[in-house]
């Protein structure tokens, strides 16, 4: 541990994160020059850095080892999530620009790119953390940088209020998590996640099962906050509504994916007994049922609250809480298929949710409104945008033949194959999907059927915007043509490095 050759090998395997760090510094430097070309240069550097990091993280997928003396891990699961998280940032930078977002228009660009790269870096670190200190540091880095991104519109009261609420909820839930982590260290005498597993498996002489359960609950509050699941979801609608839309789109996908990555890693590596199966070490609490309740509540609360929303950003916020509930089904299934379903769902969620937010941004660019009541007549003004929105919303609904359907299919299959006692859970999920179909369809009905109060001029879509809507649109359909490869990628990414054998 800590020898020079070890550090050198680690550096090589740490390259995606190093590239991102370099890109952050370069963007900050370029922005500090004050030159006229700094915005363009910052954008090029960001895209270049993200692309390079993406390539490196895909190249590293065959490796499975600890790096930096066990602080972080390189394994196929980590590589999958790194690629997903970097791709999310890449799509945000490319599809959402300072030109097509009315909210960001005219604001400084350099800081935005630096912050986006910083969140990406911390997301990547979070997905590969293997030590409690690393886990907490990465989680806080994701949070602190996203607080600043939410408050990016400095003079805007909504943006400011959203960031304040985000910080307060974040501070409480990560504070509770840290307290849980400190108790976990006290109980096991180590901060390394695999070593914690070994210590718990060996049995601690005077460990009270209640203590371990309390710890696990406290630690879960941090994961719940990151993934926006009930009862840690209260910040979600306000933050999504107040933040600039590109930031909202980013927050709805990337930190959620990173949260699910570390949740899977922590519970499967840290609390799973090597022989008797997962989660047996998490105390007397029946974790499967606790998570099931959280998942059912997330779906139901998210979907029911979305029914009455008229602000599109708020509607999509509640829908994202509901989707976190569906994704959680993959964690509850506790099987290889469950983990694969989780990954497939997150991939699908990336393209469909970013697509929906892009359309909302473009409508805001032209009409200056997020209100659903201003949406009537859009079909006549821009059939293309309306049809694109229809595809994204149908994908979110889970209608075949779109990727959203594949996500739901995998998740429900993973649950149903667990046996009869899980059927009610799958049924609740299905009922929820039906409720969700109602409010997504309501948006479409407003756009297509309802008559506008006043005639507005037809849409003029910039070529770049139309191109990115097309790309995301095809991203919802085309993957099905190469489904075997995507499924194979997810399947081969299932291997989780669980520390040296004890």
């Amino acid at each position: 541990m800590g020898s020079v050759p070890d550090v050198l090998t680690s550096m090589k395997r740490f390259e995606p994160a190093l590239i991102l760090t370099g890109a952050i510094l370069l963007v900050v430097l370029v922005d500090a020059t004050g030159a006229r070309w700094r915005d363009v240069a910052g954008r090029i550097l960001t895209v270049g850095g993200l692309l390079l990091a993406l390539v490196r993280s895909v190249e590293l997928r065959g490796v499975s080892a600890e790096i930096f003396g066990g602080m972080a891990i390189v394994d196929p699961l980590g590589s999958f999530f790194q690629a997903l998280l970097i791709a999310a940032s890449l799509l945000i930078v490319l599809a959402f620009t300072f030109r097509n977002s009315r909210e960001l228009h005219g604001l400084g660009q350099g800081e935005f790119y630096a912050l986006l790269l910083a969140v990406t870096l911390s997301n990547v670190l979070l997905a590969t953390a293997n030590d409690l200190a690393m886990l907490y540091l990465a989680l806080e880095m994701v949070s602190i940088t996203s607080y600043v991104m939410v408050a990016y519109m400095k003079g805007d009261r909504m943006s400011n209020e959203a960031s304040l609420k985000y910080i307060l909820f974040g501070a409480v839930s990560t504070g509770a998590m840290l307290y849980g982590l400190s108790l976990l260290y006290g109980l096991t005498g180590t901060t390394s996640v695999p070593a914690i597993r070994n210590a718990l498996a060996a049995g601690i002489a005077d460990a009270n099962p209640l203590a371990i359960s309390t710890i696990a609950l406290l630690v879960f509050s941090g994961f719940g906050f990151k993934t926006a699941t009930v009862p840690f979801h209260f910040w979600c609608p306000d933050v999504y509504q107040g933040a600039p839309t590109p930031v909202t789109a980013f927050l709805s996908v990337a930190p959620k994916a990173a949260g699910f990555a570390i949740m899977t890693r922590f519970f499967y590596t840290g609390l799973a007994a090597p022989r008797t199966g997962p989660w047996d070490l998490a105390g007397t609490i029946d974790w499967v049922h606790v998570l099931m309740v959280i998942s059912v509540l997330s779906m139901t609360v998210g979907n029911v609250a979305a029914l009455t929303q008229t602000n599109m950003k708020r509607l999509l916020a509640y829908s994202s809480i509901a989707h976190a509930g569906y994704i959680m089904m993959g964690v509850v299934a506790l099987s290889q298929n469950g983990a694969r379903a989780l990954m497939i769902y997150l991939l699908a969620y990336l393209v469909m949710n970013l697509g929906a937010f892009l359309v909302v941004t473009l409508i805001h660019l032209h009409d200056g409104t997020f209100d659903l009541r201003d949406y009537p007549g859009l079909y006549r003004r821009s059939p293309f945008l309306t049809l694109a929105m229809a595809v994204f919303l149908l994908s979110l609904m889970g209608i075949p033949p779109l990727v959203g359907f594949m996500g739901k299919l995998y998740v429900f299959a993973a649950i149903v194959e667990r046996g009869r006692s899980y059927f009610w859970y799958a049924a609740v999920g299905a009922v929820n999907a039906a409720i969700a179909a109602y409010y997504y369809a309501r948006v479409l009905k407003t756009m297509i059927i309802d008559n506008p109060a006043a005639e507005k001029p037809p849409f003029r879509l910039a070529l770049a915007d139309a191109t990115w809507v097309w790309i995301l649109l095809l991203g919802n359909v085309l993957p099905l043509l190469w489904w075997a490869r995507i499924d194979g990628w997810a399947r081969s990414s299932l291997s989780l490095y669980a520390g040296p054998p004890s």
Binding site: A176, L178, S182, G189, T191
Partner: protein, 101 residues
Amino acid sequence: MIGLQHYLIVSAALFSLGMLGILTRRNAVNVLMGVELVLNSANLNLVAFSRFGSGNLQGQLFAVFVIVIAAAEVAVALAIVLTLYRLRRTSNLDEADILRG
């Protein structure tokens, strides 16, 4: 003789007081003080466990990082509270109520 238990009791008290402060205070700065108490109760735990329990330094190392994170978090939070004050002439959290529904 002061032992591990005494430290744990103090840290549990700090944690509870911090949470109480966060939940009951109206002023944003007071809430942030509560956050500091929560983070430092965990620090106390980490250092005490490192000293009396495992005998390794991982806990103390962790605590050093937590101190840094706490400073960063409060720096960002105070900047946001300052903007709140500039925009509305108040640091009372109850008045930040545009976003609802």
